[in-house]
Symmetry: C2
Subunit: 348 residues, 2 copies
Amino acid sequence: MAEKKRTEIAELGEFGLIDREVSKFQKKNATTLTGAGDDAAVLDAGDGNVLLVSTDAMLEGIDFDLTYFPMKHLGYKAVTVGVSDILAMNALPEQIMLSLGISSKLSVEALDDFYEGVEFACRELGVDMVGGDTRASLTGFVIGITAVGRAKRDRVVYRSGAKLNDLICITGNLGAAYMGLHLLEREKRVLSDVKDPEPKFAGYEYLLEKYLKPRARKDIIESLAEDGILPSSMIDISDGLASDLMQICKASKCGARIYLERIPIAKQTSAMAEELHADPVVAALNGGEDHELLFTVPLAMQEQVMRMGGIDVIGHVTAGNTGAYLVTPDGSDIRLKAQGFKESDPAK
Amino acid sequence: MAEKKRTEIAELGEFGLIDREVSKFQKKNATTLTGAGDDAAVLDAGDGNVLLVSTDAMLEGIDFDLTYFPMKHLGYKAVTVGVSDILAMNALPEQIMLSLGISSKLSVEALDDFYEGVEFACRELGVDMVGGDTRASLTGFVIGITAVGRAKRDRVVYRSGAKLNDLICITGNLGAAYMGLHLLEREKRVLSDVKDPEPKFAGYEYLLEKYLKPRARKDIIESLAEDGILPSSMIDISDGLASDLMQICKASKCGARIYLERIPIAKQTSAMAEELHADPVVAALNGGEDHELLFTVPLAMQEQVMRMGGIDVIGHVTAGNTGAYLVTPDGSDIRLKAQGFKESDPAK
């Protein structure tokens, strides 16, 4: 008997794999307005309203390390991760569900801390926790997050709406979460043999907060609505600017040019990068987990967007066949590449 | 510094833990019609309609063993597990999302098989696959399933509606999935040192199918609607009859009496139990994973329910303070106990 062919998943990458599998499915229900391929699925909820549903997983050893990740922060971050996908559709989150795989290593008190963080985030965001599933796990803590949101159908923003010459905008700053992770990993390595370790985090508190307790940018979605700004496309920055920008380019069939010196990077991010002999721009491009929003708006909205505050215009949308480029201060163009699975994360 | 108190999760059990954590949350949104505590959350979808959302996790090593679980069947079963929670609310499933943690052990071809099973189940049930999340896993294959369904608000059936003297009904038969699992585990043990093993499954094909490829009982929900039968309460049998009946009793603040000789058990289940010197009733009560429906109807509907076919009346609802009992043929009463986490599964 011939051996069955074996293709490694790394050959296709995460996005190639999803494309391959999703293409097998046919739409059957009229209430399914969009299928896979955006931050959240869009379902008809009658009267011009839609429901947005997203699902995410966070796995111990891949997405978090319990030796330094406080359970309370992990609960908070799980809500941020789920809710950010809803916000990225220009919708407001209303409900979350948690599906947990709990290893026997965890105590009831540890889970109390976890749910305290969940509850805190839910209160901050006005989100209801409406259930889930809890079971034992043999292999570490597993967190599944389902988030549900709501919007008027004509206010939903997809990845696919970017138009030629639109401005590319970023909220907050990038690379801080990645540098926070680096810092935590370094202290773990350095202190692995030390009894009663005292990690050195002074001066880098912001990086730790961005990694351990990132805030979902509900404030931005509310401000956009108040100011009457409807982005043409939007995505949550979870995989890094390069990868997420390329998702917009792919969905919108467009290219992009972003300018290196315009990428917002916090002082602590640059300082930490210097200490580690790393490039903060690489952290911003490929680090991920910033949970900021990347969106595009028509050129005419430049002033309105700038007035909002906390938003940087970092480039513009180009024609479909031109690719996505980073323009350096000396004027050279670097073609952006998407990152694959988290497994290849250079921090690990 | 005083040591922090450590309580083992086993002390509380799965249901105790969920009660403890869920009680911390306050409802904030008017669209949240019910919170945690049923098979699915119920969200307002306008015009007298509701959306049902459920979330489940299946973890390698706990919920399935890839040494004998074909990937295609696993994909099929994941859809059944998700969709059964929607059906148990008397609603029809419309969408599912899958969130996967993929270990490097799995090839692209294995995932093709998995998604082939997902696609087959989706086609059979008329369900759309609308996205999800895929990431690497260090610790085995992790499957998160989010299912979405829809119903008229006044047709939704909760766990909490059972009334005194209502009839307790079961679809299909119980314990077969559990015996299928036992059989697979036995062959794995026996053949662990054998090259080119040839497991002996002849005569037990039904048990394997019930464990590896259980069908979601959409047919029952459709028949109930056609026949104008609205159950007073309903639950998906995933944890075993005893545990799931006790969930109805708890939510409905009622007791129950079920009769041992009325519990539907397939011939192959009894035969396998005999071979293993096990009690098929114990498999039916505690085995779980049958994905049949347990529901109650008013006494007046007995004839209508019996006419449907494939449904057995196994007992009746009693007053709130009387507990849930199994009545044996000799007339003695055995008080039912709920099972905890899957970890304590005697088959493992």
